[in-house]
């Protein structure tokens, strides 16, 4: 198992190299010029030339890529074009916000998605089944942007239960250690900040969780239905096992394989889908950061950010594969 994990981690290197080449080429071959965007309407030819030279944009593409790789070897992702900051520092500031949001959203979607899926499967064609599956269909098709605004109007503007946007209220102080605010609040035993951070994450996390929740629910339902028809379930029932044991011990475990795959994939989707959620809820995460970078052609941010996301994706995939083996001993990691 350990050898397998090491091998998989080593595969990261060619994967990331491939990703970096593709991203680099796509960036530089699409139209747009960071110097033009930085200077806007007031750009003079002279100012543009000076800036392009300074940013190294006058070098041929392979030289630019070589410089990028050379820096990368030293563990340096370079410096952003707009904010003149080390890309790594910007990553450290923003990724925790996104991961915090994605993890909470995924917990919500796993918990409710699986529960709905299991109940629907065990009570197939019941009113609950119909309602939850129609709900799941609605969840998948709901535009996040619209849903976020509706939540805001209901829960903040009308009911006043939840804060509208941001990660913390203006008056709340929090000593930042990891940049995961909920975790930081626990570490510093700052309970008002903990409450405030949790309060702030509910609406964006629920908004972000709708699509994964719906997918997990549908996946759990169909996987469970298939397993529940198997002979060994009948045997288990005939043995006189309790309904709970049959469902959770015998059926669910075998139905989990496709569900875990889906959850793993959904984590990646949640990271990417966070762009919209982050924009509406003014959540200072990586999605909004990357979107702005694309609009401003901040090559350094896009390259660094994409590499980081790609690495994360590979690691999540690895975790999912390892989980398969744990869930189902018949699958061995080879």
């Amino acid at each position: 198992m350990l050898a397998y994990i090491i091998r998989r981690i080593l595969i990261l290197i060619p994967t990331l190299l491939g990703v970096s080449i593709i991203v680099f080429l796509m960036l530089h071959l699409t139209p747009g010029d960071p110097a033009e965007l930085l200077l806007g309407e007031r750009a003079t030819e002279e100012a543009l030339e000076e800036l392009r030279v300074h940013l190294g944009l006058k070098e041929p593409l392979h030289v630019q890529y070589g410089m990028f790789l050379k820096r990368l070897m030293k563990g340096d992702l370079g410096e952003t074009i707009w904010t003149r900051q080390k890309v790594w520092i910007e990553v450290k500031q923003r990724f925790p916000a996104t991961i915090e949001l994605a993890v909470v959203a995924l917990c919500i979607s796993c918990f409710f998605g699986m529960i709905f899926g299991i109940i629907s499967a065990t009570k197939q064609y019941s009113i609950f089944d119909y309602v939850s599956m129609v709900g799941a269909l609605a969840g998948v098709s709901m535009p996040i942007f619209w849903l976020g605004l509706v939540f805001m109007i209901i829960f903040s503007l009308n009911l006043g239960w939840l804060p509208l946007s941001g990660r913390l209220s203006t008056g709340v102080d929090l000593e930042v250690i990891t940049n995961f605010y909920i975790l930081d609040a626990i570490l510093t035993r700052n309970w008002p900040a903990f409450r405030d951070a949790v309060w702030h994450i509910i609406m964006p996390a629920v908004t972000l969780s709708t699509i994964p929740m719906a997918i997990v629910a549908r996946m759990t339902r169909s996987a469970m239905l298939e397993v529940l028809r198997q002979d060994y379930i009948k045997t288990a029932k005939a043995k006189g096992l309790s309904r709970f044991k049959v469902i959770f011990k015998h059926a669910l475990r075998n139905a989990l394989i496709p569900v875990v795959t889906t959850i793993g994939l959904q984590f990646g989707v949640a990271l990417g889908g966070a762009i919209l959620t982050e924009t509406i809820f003014a959540w200072p995460g990586v999605g909004k950061w990357m979107y702005d970078a694309v609009m401003q052609r901040d090559y350094m941010v896009i390259q660094g950010g994409t590499l980081f996301i790609a690495a994360l994706f590979v690691v999540i995939n690895l975790c999912v594969d390892v989980l398969y083996a744990i869930i189902n001993p018949r699958i061995s990691v080879q």
Binding site: L39, E46, E50
Partner: protein
């Protein structure tokens, strides 16, 4: 294996339970309070006056010499100060960090007498050396002289964009500190807008001591002399400033203890935050929300005609646009600019007669502006030799892909113009590109471009900053409208070399007349800026340059 499986579920359940539990706790607390629901969100603590400013994006950096965007400058406006200030709601100059100044008779030497007793936020004194350091660091060829001690200015991290774009190296020859409170600028050429330039953000004075501590990080640790000092910055979220207790001018503020600049990208959400009372001022709301703000008794609507122009111009480098003035006039009379302002600017603007805003000195009120008159347009078209548009073929109308302060929806405006042109027989195809490409290709004046939309937001309130920078094609190939008119060029040079403002005003009036007679450009609209605010925000005035000055602002 079984244990692992159990663990996995245990973790998922534990996290969810923790999450639900904490939410439940919060709800109980909220119930107990029985007061305004989102109370924790209220920015205003009883004893501390905290103003929360909601804006669309984060600052890029806070070193005024190197920034180019409004979101950076609006924070700099409160941390730093320049030698001269713009007056409230105008760009007339008043003494700033310089108490007074003398201009030599030949217009090439400016002597600034500095204010005494001014301190930087780090406790170091403001003096002539700080001025030489702050401005001198932007010079390519650093002809600077300090007084008493010598400062070593580090190499530039990157070109100081405003300094380069405004060709200041061609203007400023040398800067010298004569004594602790006197600085002399020696210019290479007579440059009338120079004084106004010294009021712009890029000319703000920074603390040399703070800068030298870590030049690379100064943009994230700004130190100036302004009414508020920098406290903290959470990227893409908030920048917090607090009152500078040793601020030199105690006559009117600062009244706020803290200022929080919050980034809320979505316009409608930002407006909702204002409505729920979580922010005090909402920058750039959607035009549709302005109507809602008007009805809300808790909100006020600070308004300011923007110092800007959105225009439609011609590709003057090619025929027929280059020499056919009748054709240009036909286009000008065919476009219904009022309908564009009413429907696309949604009333947040006014139809332009001249390419400079009416609030600016030197504005020529005698010019009637082009009337929307399709019949007259047809007559001009006939005079131009293109009766009913015949022979002109399909022309292109380049339209901006992004909203700008002077133009909310470039493509929509392009489509409206195209429809207007069709009514007089001209077929115009709306063309657009990604913004960077648009800017780049527009400057190249390619033959496939016939008409193009663009605009400008003024920097310093000087007519030269519009009329020369935008339309004097003979001055440089970088000028966006490559209109080559010797008489106009001579006027622009003369305007720059005349120091007396009354005489300059006459020169610029003549220039506007020339633009109108020759129809070098069609001035479409000046947009109006409306930023709704809470009723308890007092003394908040919008500035034509777009700067946000909170020194006099109070919370009642």
């Amino acid at each position: 294996m079984k244990r692992f499986f159990m663990k996995f579920f245990a973790i998922v359940f534990a996290l969810t339970a923790l999450f639900l539990f904490s939410s439940g706790c919060e709800q109980k607390v909220a119930e107990k309070k029985e007061s305004a629901p989102a109370e924790t969100e209220k920015p205003q603590v009883a004893e501390e006056k905290v103003l929360v400013f909601g804006r669309g994006g984060d600052s890029v950096g806070l070193d005024p010499a190197y920034e180019t965007d409004g979101n950076s400058f609006m924070v700099c406006d409160n941390i730093y100060e320049a030698l001269v200030f713009y007056k409230d709601e105008s760009t007339a100059l008043e003494p700033g960090l310089a108490e007074s100044w003398d201009i030599s008779p030949d217009g090439k030497t400016y002597t600034f007498n500095l204010r005494k007793g001014v301190q930087f936020h780090d406790g170091t004194p403001f003096n002539a050396n700080a001025v030489v350091f702050s401005i001198g660091r932007m010079m390519k060829d650093r002809q600077v002289k300090f007084y008493g001690k010598d400062w070593d200015i580090p190499a530039q991290e990157r070109p100081p964009e405003y300094w380069v774009s405004m060709e200041m190296d061609k203007t400023v020859g040398a800067i010298e500190a004569v004594d602790d409170y006197t600085v002399v600028f020696k210019l290479k050429r007579v440059e009338a807008p120079f004084l106004a330039n010294m009021g712009m953000d890029f000319a703000d004075i920074i603390s040399p001591t703070a800068f030298l501590k870590n030049p690379k990080e100064f943009l994230r640790n700004p130190v100036g002399t302004g009414p508020f000092k920098f406290v903290s910055w959470v990227k893409d979220d908030r920048i917090i400033l607090e009152k500078f207790n040793d601020y030199w001018d105690k006559s009117s503020g600062p009244y706020l203890d803290k200022v929080v600049f919050r980034s809320i990208p979505e316009n409608s959400v930002r407006f909702l935050e204002l409505k729920t009372g979580n922010i005090h001022i909402c920058q750039f709301p959607d035009p549709a929300d302005i109507a809602l703000a008007k009805e809300d008794p808790n909100l006020i609507l600070p308004t300011q005609p923007g110092m800007n122009i959105g225009y439609l111009s011609f590709n003057h480098t090619k025929e027929p646009w280059k020499s056919n003035v009748n054709l240009r006039k036909a286009i000008a009379h065919a476009i219904d600019r009022k309908a564009i302002v009413d429907n696309i600017y949604q009333g947040m603007g006014q139809v332009a007669k001249n390419p400079i805003p009416p609030t600016m000195w030197g504005y020529n009120t005698a010019i009637p502006g082009f009337k929307y008159d399709p019949e007259l347009a047809k007559e001009y078209l006939e005079k131009a030799g293109y009766q009913g548009g015949k022979g002109l073929g399909e022309i292109t109308l380049w339209s901006m892909p992004v909203p700008r302060p002077y133009n909310p929806k470039g493509v929509k405006i392009g489509e409206a113009m195209s429809a207007d042109l069709a009514k007089v027989g001209i077929t115009a195809k709306v063309v657009t590109f990604e913004w960077g490409t648009y800017l780049k290709r527009q400057r190249e004046q390619p033959p496939e471009m016939d008409l193009f939309q663009l605009g400008w937001t003024g920097d310093n309130g000087d007519p030269d900053n519009f009329l020369a920078v935008l339309f004097d094609g003979l001055a440089s190939s970088s000028i966006r409208t490559q209109w080559h008119n010797q008489k106009y060029h001579d006027l622009m040079v003369k305007g720059r070399q005349t120091i007396d403002q009354a005489k300059r005003a006459e020169i610029y009036k003549e220039a506007q007349q020339l633009i109108f007679d020759e129809c070098a450009v069609i001035s479409v609209a000046h947009s109006t800026v409306i930023w709704p605010a809470q009723k308890n925000v007092a003394n908040f005035k919008l500035h034509p340059t777009g700067s946000v000055r909170l020194k006099n602002v109070a919370l009642n």
